[in-house]
């Protein structure tokens, strides 16, 4: 039965398609192949999500070797949800990628974009689905190496330095994870996540396990761009090709946050990681600093893409705050924001992709008057921006609402106040773009609206922003199930 092998196919199909892209070379064909493979992955992820939601967790033994010794792919509601986010974002963005990438990348290199894209997808899906910590490292490096490649293919020459910077930081992060895994193996003799969870409590008091935990948290936080480890992110997002930025913004940091959840709540217990190691306090402080400082920095950016990149670091702050609360509501807020932020940032970066396609610039001063020339693109940007701010009837509101609820559950009025206050900063930086685009006049008189193939994916995501903002029952019920499951595994 093919359906029994879905967890393996989820990773294997994009992995096999990537070298095929190098062989094919022809730009349109590689794009079609990548698009097809991505949608197949999306279909598999949706099937897995439905199956795990109704039938409980699945376990797949790779190569027929049983779990503690062999590599296990373990699918439950938490990672099936993330699989859907990653493959969904990739599939929608890829539709618009063809035009946008052909415009921004040298024609001889376009097939490399799709190769890197599929490898990155493989890596991200692999990190999410695997139940083996060393396998996490391997997939993490597959995803990272291909994203350095994707960033370096950006149109500006500064993309190269951004990619190099990302490579250095990313390698340090990944090596930290490797050290952490090694130290855990030293004390427990196992690499399987479920097995580790059983054996760690016995040795949790040793310095080795604590050092291993510290290395893992630092390494993963670097990948997730948790403030203040976000140094690589603004440059990488700014100079990567627009479609790549949209893909990475909607998937890469989300997967790292998922990994953080997995390590905090499943492999180590909630008591160990948040109470004993005091990470609840550390993450809360870092999260609050992130949402304020990064939103303030975003306000002062003249490059709109860089502005949204800083805003992404701020948004990771909200997720981290949700995790640090360690209640069902707090975790629900964090997980649902994972999904919601993927929707809104991806939509915003796609809208910017449309602007780059016509104007060849995302500098604020070049955007003057673009609201009248490209009404659909800018309308999408405005709705995406409203969602980012957290206006009711958009997904952003749902995440903020749950975060505020979680803060109030703890009687932390100050935190609820800060979440709302930081949203006002988002109003300022979104307003700067809106003001320039609609109320100033500039030399964009000959600009036309972006082509349909770029507009349609953008609007698909915008409609999703509104749809999941109005009827959030489905996402909330998935997220609550996931949060309960993470908190219940002691």
């Amino acid at each position: 039965m093919i359906s029994a092998h879905l967890p393996a196919l989820q990773v294997v199909i994009p992995l096999l398609a990537a070298p095929a892209c190098v062989v094919v070379r022809q730009s349109t064909l590689t794009w079609l192949l990548a698009l097809l493979v991505s949608w197949i992955s999306f279909a598999i992820a949706l099937t897995l999500l439905v199956q795990t939601f109704f039938n409980g967790p699945m376990s797949y033994e790779l190569g027929g070797w049983a779990a503690p010794l062999g590599i296990e792919y373990a699918v439950d509601v938490v990672n099936a949800f993330v699989l859907v986010i990653v493959s969904g974002v990739s599939s929608v963005v890829l539709i618009s990628a063809k035009e946008s990438i052909e415009r921004e990348t040298h024609i001889k290199r376009t097939h490399l974009v799709y190769t890197g894209w599929l490898l990155c997808l493989t890596g991200l899906l692999g990190i999410t689905i695997t139940g083996d910590v060393f396998n996490v490292f391997v997939f993490l490096e597959i995803a990272s190496l291909s994203s350095y490649l994707l960033v370096s293919l950006g149109p500006d020459r500064r993309a190269l330095t951004a990619a190099f910077q990302y490579l250095v930081m990313g390698t340090i992060g990944a090596t930290f994870i490797l050290i952490g895994v090694g130290l855990l193996y030293m004390m427990t003799g196992t690499l399987n996540m479920a097995d580790l969870a059983q054996r760690i409590p016995g040795v949790a008091q040793t310095t080795t396990v604590r050092a291993g935990f510290a290395f893992l948290v630092l390494g993963i936080s670097l990948k997730a761009a948790v403030f203040p480890l976000h140094y690589w992110l603004p440059n990488a997002y700014t100079f990567a090709p627009s479609a790549v930025t949209a893909f990475m913004a909607g998937s890469a940091t989300k997967v790292s946050i998922y990994l953080l959840l997995r390590f905090f709540f499943d492999i180590f217990s909630e008591t160990f990681s948040l109470r004993t190691m005091r990470l609840d306090l550390i993450l809360l402080i870092l999260g609050v600093i992130a949402i304020f400082s990064m939103s303030l920095v975003a306000i002062y950016q003249s490059n709109v893409k860089r502005m949204l990149a800083y805003s992404s670091v701020a948004q990771v702050g909200y997720m981290v705050i949700g995790i640090s609360l360690a209640t069902t509501t707090g975790l629900t807020a964090g997980i649902v924001h994972l999904f919601n932020h993927a929707l809104m940032k991806c939509a915003l970066f796609l809208a910017l992709g449309c602007i780059v396609f016509r104007l060849n610039s995302v500098d604020l001063k070049d955007l003057a008057g673009v609201g009248r020339r490209m009404p659909w693109t800018m309308a999408a940007f405005v709705i995406g921006g409203l969602s980012l701010i957290g206006v009711p009837a958009t997904v952003g509101f749902i995440s903020k609402w749950y975060l505020v609820l979680a803060a109030l559950e703890r009687d932390w009025w100050w935190l609820a106040f800060m979440v709302v206050a930081s949203s006002l900063l988002a109003v300022i930086y979104i307003w700067r773009v809106v003001e320039t685009a609609y109320f100033k006049t500039g030399p964009v008189a000959n600009t036309e609206e972006a082509p349909l193939i770029l507009l349609v994916p953008t609007w698909v995501l915008i409609v999703a922003n509104i749809y999941f903002g109005v009827s959030a029952v489905d996402t909330i019920s998935f997220a609550t199930r996931a949060a309960d499951q993470l908190l219940s595994t002691f």
């Binding site: 020459r157 190269l160 340090i172």
Partner: protein, 115 residues
């Protein structure tokens, strides 16, 4: 653990810190990659040391021997070495392209010319 047993870990520690130091301090991009390599090598030694069982031989089935070293960390680190090689290759490739785009591989020179 004996002093000899801890010796490996001291080497790991020294290599790790010197590698990180080179990555942070040097402005030459090639030197940064060298630092990164030293940093990664320290982790390779860490894994290899973990696998050693005192008194154990190489894990090959031979009559009369019952104590073997643990081969798993060695296999794991083989994978990590491959990853390290790939990272170095990609890093060097990017440096080559940086050199042709900026005519320099010194970080400070690049940042002063690029804005």
């Amino acid at each position: 653990m004996t002093t000899i047993g801890l010796f490996n870990y001291w080497i790991v520690f020294v290599l790790m810190m010197s590698g990180l130091y080179i990555v942070i301090v040097s402005t030459n991009l090639i030197k940064k990659i060298i630092g990164l390599n030293i940093f990664q090598t320290s982790v390779f030694i860490l894994y290899i040391s973990i696998g050693k069982v005192s008194g154990g031989t190489a894990p090959i089935l031979v009559d009369g021997i019952t104590l073997y070293s643990n081969p798993l960390p060695h296999v794991l680190i083989l994978t990590a070495i491959v990853v390290g090689v790939a990272t170095t290759a990609l890093g060097l490739a990017i440096v080559v392209r940086i050199h042709s785009a900026f005519n320099s591989i010194d970080e400070e020179e690049i940042y002063t010319t690029s804005d």
